[in-house]
């Protein structure tokens, strides 16, 4: 399949469709819940988180794909974790240097990307078995799928919670801000109902 150009295109296309929809890490596989719930009170932190995850995912997939021939089964997970935590440290230092306020708001959830199942899942399922280019496309697609899911939640929560989106008033000011949406309760309820909606959509299609 690797020599067949059409097969290659199919491989990339598959990776993109899988990442965004068919195997969307948050909405379909229900992985990486902790950041999904924690940073989606507003759209801005959600997008920052999404970008961080894309960065870490791409870098770790590149590294894992490059060293896949030298990996030994019993130290595999350890090597993945070390690679991931190195890139998470880079991302965290970058945020702290350039957007200190956002870094403070995200708190421990940036370093917690280390134990985000999505990244280790892609390292194990894709990067440790495929070439460089496929791994990068896969990482970009999965990261985009993650960011998409976070944005959906964040848009719902921010609009209902504050009536604003990116500081711009969306709902009429007479709308009473639904403060609970910005709290943990809102996170759990919104995610629950979004997953429920996903179930309805997929059932109607099949």
């Amino acid at each position: 399949m690797a020599t067949n150009p059409e097969g290659q295109m199919g491989l990339y296309g598959d990776a993109v469709v899988n990442g965004l929809w068919r195997e969307n890490p948050v909405l379909r596989m229900i992985l990486g819940m902790c950041p999904t719930l924690a940073v989606t009170a507003a759209l801005k932190p959600a997008l920052t988180m999404g970008l961080c995850v894309i960065f870490v995912l791409v870098c770790s997939n590149i590294m894992v794909s490059l060293m896949r021939k030298g990996l030994r089964p019993h130290v595999r997970i350890l090597m993945f974790t070390l690679t991931i935590s190195t890139f998470v440290t880079i991302a965290d230092l970058f945020l702290r240097a350039y957007v200190p306020k956002m870094s403070e708001a995200l708190g421990p959830y940036v370093p917690l990307i280390i134990v985000n199942c999505i990244i280790i899942w892609r390292a194990e399922a894709r990067a440790s078995k495929s070439g460089l280019l496929v791994s990068v496309v896969d990482a970009l697609a999965m990261g985009a799928g993650f960011t998409l899911a976070l944005s959906i939640l964040a848009v719902i929560r921010e609009i209902l919670g504050t009536g604003k989106l990116f500081e711009i008033q969306i709902l009429p000011t007479t709308f009473p801000a639904w403060a609970a949406m910005g709290m943990p309760v809102g996170a759990f309820l919104t995610f629950g109902f979004v997953l429920g909606a996903m179930n309805v959509i997929t059932r109607n299609r099949s």
Partner: protein, 195 residues
């Protein structure tokens, strides 16, 4: 007396008010995946509490006695995840050697704990909260584990009963679990005024 009072309020705060599951969203994955049966949830909770106390204490010691004096805060995350992985391995070997029957019941949970975000999350929160003394770090990490156990057991109890309830088809599985968790989080908000 002041220290005792401070430790007690810290413990209550981390168990109820700042519960790792309901207010910090940590350890949600096992919470959704495992908490179908109350005895398994309790086993998982105990294993997590044990590892959390151990790794919270160890990472605090490494952070304060090694990384900060040497100016190596940059290596904090790498060091923390290594300590947690090593602690889980040690616990696994120790339990297997000396308490084989306990190992049988813990068995599947122990390796999973390395990637439980509640453990790393708590170690990071100890840094963020600026915990100043070793005893405080021990008490807070133990409290974090107890809070996790309480959350996961309450959830397992509810889910055992949910099986007999007519849940709308679209909400079956993970969605209804999350909605239940949301209502529990609402209930736990009531503790906020305690201290």
């Amino acid at each position: 007396m002041d220290t005792v009072y401070m430790l007690l309020t810290g413990f209550i705060s981390v168990v109820l008010i700042n519960n790792l599951v309901f207010t910090k969203f940590l350890g949600i994955c096992p919470y959704i995946g495992v908490s179908g049966r109350i005895d398994m949830a309790f086993g998982m909770g105990l294993a997590v509490t044990f590892v959390m106390t151990l790794s919270g204490t160890l990472t605090w010691m490494i952070d304060h006695w090694l990384l900060i004096p040497l100016g190596l805060e940059v290596a904090r995350y790498v060091a923390f995840i290594m300590v947690i992985a090593a602690a889980v391995q040690l616990v696994e070997m120790y339990v297997k050697r000396f308490f084989p029957s306990l190992y049988e019941s813990f068995g599947i949970f122990l390796p999973l704990i390395t990637t439980n975000c509640a453990i790393l999350g708590l170690c990071l929160f100890l840094v963020i909260w600026g915990v100043g003394s070793l005893i405080e770090a021990v008490v807070l990490s133990f409290g974090g584990g107890i809070g996790f156990t309480i959350a996961i057991c309450i959830m397992a109890g509810i889910r055992e009963n949910l099986r007999m309830v007519d849940v709308p088809e679209a909400l079956q599985g993970a969605p209804i679990t999350l909605i239940t968790a949301g209502l529990l989080a609402l209930a736990f908000m009531g503790f906020a005024g305690m201290i």
